[in-house]
């Protein structure tokens, strides 16, 4: 278990900035998730932590020790690659044994450790196969086994589930979660998928265009996104955006979306009269009934069409001319949902962004 500190990491490639002044800290035994779209610099950042790439500026500390100029073999890390990177000329057994052989471990010890880790990942039966003969899920399990077999200080996961079928992805996500729980390793996990981040991570580092946009506990970040783009990245179905203007009425200040929908914001001093705002609502924060919610906003809607995925319903609705998507797991209520006239959103889940720079101002219902 090791604490990782990343300090002012900057990296350019052929004059293009890949990482800019990246700072964060991963506590010992913690799982940190780097969330960001492709091209955000996630892989480069992991490479720099692994030592296969060196930063132009900045320093990396493992437990307070500066490892910036150390080669990968002196860093004692494990890495799981999106593209597997298994050695095609070796059997699965030899692939997993590879990090131990590099350390000149005795063959008896290697046999013991390889079988242990293979057991843990449920791949004992494929040890004699070649990587090319493995399915995607098996191959990624082998990669994880290879990364963990030497009990590394830190384990890096570079989008390990991205290249897998969705079904395998679900199963493996669960298994990785179990490993994190059992082994209590320090892990840094990169993914473009917010669901994976939420399921696996404790701390979230949101990376965009090589910059850290937001750091915090995963749930906290999702609830209080830095800006509209971050909010869109934090939900698999994106974020609903309604435009509104702050007006003064006899009752006080309101955010007026259209003639039918005005939201009372009298107790929010950060929302200023005459300014334009964007109202952000995640599809999973919208409910078909008020029951069980306190302080919910009622929104009049007209239902456009529904998408039924079998386990989830996506209800596409309109508020004025704006699209509003609602996510529900109550698939059996599909008939009822087709005739929805009002939906409800808890005030604290309504995120207000400034229209000019799209940054978050506040969440409603919370007096900050």
């Amino acid at each position: 278990m090791t604490e990782v500190v990343i300090e002012n990491i900057t990296k350019q490639f052929r004059g293009v900035s890949i990482l800019e002044n990246v700072n964060f800290k991963v506590r010992s035994g913690e799982v940190a998730v780097i969330l960001g779209p492709s091209g955000a610099g996630k892989t480069t950042l992991l490479r720099i932590i692994a030592g296969t790439e060196s930063p132009d500026q900045g320093r990396i500390y493992f437990d307070g020790e500066d490892v910036t100029s150390k080669p990968p073999k002196e860093r004692d890390i494990g890495m799981v690659f999106q593209t597997f990177a298994l050695y095609p000329h070796m059997t699965v057994y030899d692939n997993i044994a590879s990090p131990l052989r590099a350390k000149k471990t005795s063959e008896a010890e290697i046999r013991k450790r390889v079988h242990e880790i293979a057991e843990l990942l449920g791949i004992s039966h494929i040890l004699n196969k070649r990587p090319q003969e493995c399915s995607g899920g098996e191959a990624q399990r082998v990669v994880i086994a290879r990364a963990l077999v030497k009990n590394p200080k830190i384990c890096l996961f570079d989008e390990p589930l991205t290249n897998l079928d969705y079904k395998v992805r679900e199963v493996l996500r669960m298994e990785i979660k179990r490993l994190f729980k059992e082994l209590k390793i320090t892990a840094i996990y990169s993914t473009p998928n917010p669901e994976e981040a939420a399921a696996l991570g404790e701390t979230l580092i949101h990376l965009r265009n090589g910059r850290v946009i937001q750091i915090g506990m995963v749930r906290e970040c999702f609830k209080h996104p830095k800006d509209v783009e971050a909010a869109a990245c934090y939900s698999p179905y994106g974020v609903n955006i309604l435009e509104a203007t702050c007006l003064k009425q006899e009752r006080g200040k309101v955010l007026k979306v259209n003639d039918k929908l005005s939201i009372d914001v009298g107790n929010h001093s950060e929302i200023v009269e005459g300014e334009e705002y964007l109202i952000g609502i995640y599809p999973h924060d919208i409910f078909p009934a008020e029951a069980g919610l306190k302080n919910a906003l009622r929104i009049p809607v007209t239902v456009d069409f529904l998408e039924n995925t079998g386990s989830e319903l996506i209800i596409n609705m309109r508020v004025g001319d704006k699209l509003l998507r609602m996510l529900s797991t109550e698939v059996e209520r599909i008939r009822e949902f087709e005739r929805l006239q009002y939906v409800y959103v808890p005030l604290e889940n309504i995120i207000i962004f400034r229209k000019s720079d799209e940054s978050r101002v506040c969440n409603l219902g919370v007096n900050v």
Binding site: G51, T52, M79
Partner: protein, 274 residues
């Protein structure tokens, strides 16, 4: 019925065509072999069926024929080894490292290969004489390297480029140094390409007649150059029989080597994808 007859006709035409193609390829080989085991009167009579005369083959185990075979073997095998020892690390560096003018250097290597060898013959002849390496093994090998290394680097580089960079990273992260990465991981992975590169490196030196004729005279003359000299003297005491036997000798190792590297070559010739 008519359709069946038409099929039969098409098949017969196919067989005739294929037989004709085979004949074009096999006839020179057969003829060389046939002449090599025919006696002089038989050859002069223009007979196609040999009389199984062993004298020609005995003849080429002696004198300049023998030295030609030995020289060819020494030069071509040396070329093969040296070209690979230089081009495997070079190819790896071209693919994996960025250094000053790397792309230009790679392109320049290739363009060297495009020039007709005769262009280089004049400066080579003058420089080799000046350096005292004319008519030596090292002189001939050096000349061959100029043409072989670009092609072997090219073959190897395109293959190495198909190995994902993540493999290198995984090896380093596993805790190996760069030497282990190269010898324990990269070399086994590019075996097919090494097979093909070996074949080409050997082939060029073994079959070359031009440089061997220009850059050697007595001491290090290889078999193809010896053959050329011999054919130039037909009628002045040199005969077709031993020349044909020597010619056939030049064919044998190629066929043998091709048979040996054939399983690699199928992979290697696809120039990529493991």
């Amino acid at each position: 019925m008519a359709a069946a007859r038409k099929d039969l006709l098409v098949n017969i035409l196919k067989v005739i065509f294929l037989a004709f193609i085979c004949l074009i390829f096999i006839l020179p080989v057969y003829f060389t072999f046939s002449v090599s085991i025919s006696s002089k009167p038989r050859i002069n009579a223009g007979a196609i069926i040999p009389d199984f005369y062993a004298g020609n083959w005995i003849e080429i185990t002696k004198g300049y024929w023998k030295s030609g075979i030995i020289n060819s073997a020494i030069v071509s095998l040396s070329c093969m080894i040296i070209a690979l020892v230089i081009s495997i690390p070079a190819a790896y560096a071209f693919v994996r490292y960025r250094f000053m003018a790397d792309k230009h250097l790679f392109f320049w290597f290739l363009t060297n290969r495009m020039a007709p060898p005769v262009v280089f013959s004049i400066p080579y002849l003058m420089i080799w004489r000046g350096m005292g390496i004319w008519d030596t093994y090292q002189g001939l090998i050096l000349a061959y390297m100029v043409f072989e290394i670009p092609i072997t680097i090219w073959i190897l580089a395109s293959f190495i480029a198909s190995i994902p960079r993540e493999i290198d990273e995984a090896v380093l992260i596993d805790g190996y140094g760069t030497r282990d990465l190269f010898f324990k991981f990269i070399l086994p992975l590019i075996k097919p390409a090494i097979g093909v590169a070996m074949f080409f490196a050997w082939l060029f030196a073994w079959t070359d007649m031009f440089f061997a004729s220009v850059l050697t005279s007595v001491h290090s003359k290889t078999l193809p150059a010896q053959l050329l000299t011999a054919l130039g003297k037909v009628g002045w005491g040199i005969e077709y029989g031993p020349a044909a036997a020597a010619g056939f000798v030049t064919l044998i190792p190629g066929l043998a080597l091709l048979y040996w590297v054939r399983r690699y070559i199928v992979k290697g010739f696809t120039f990529g994808r493991l």
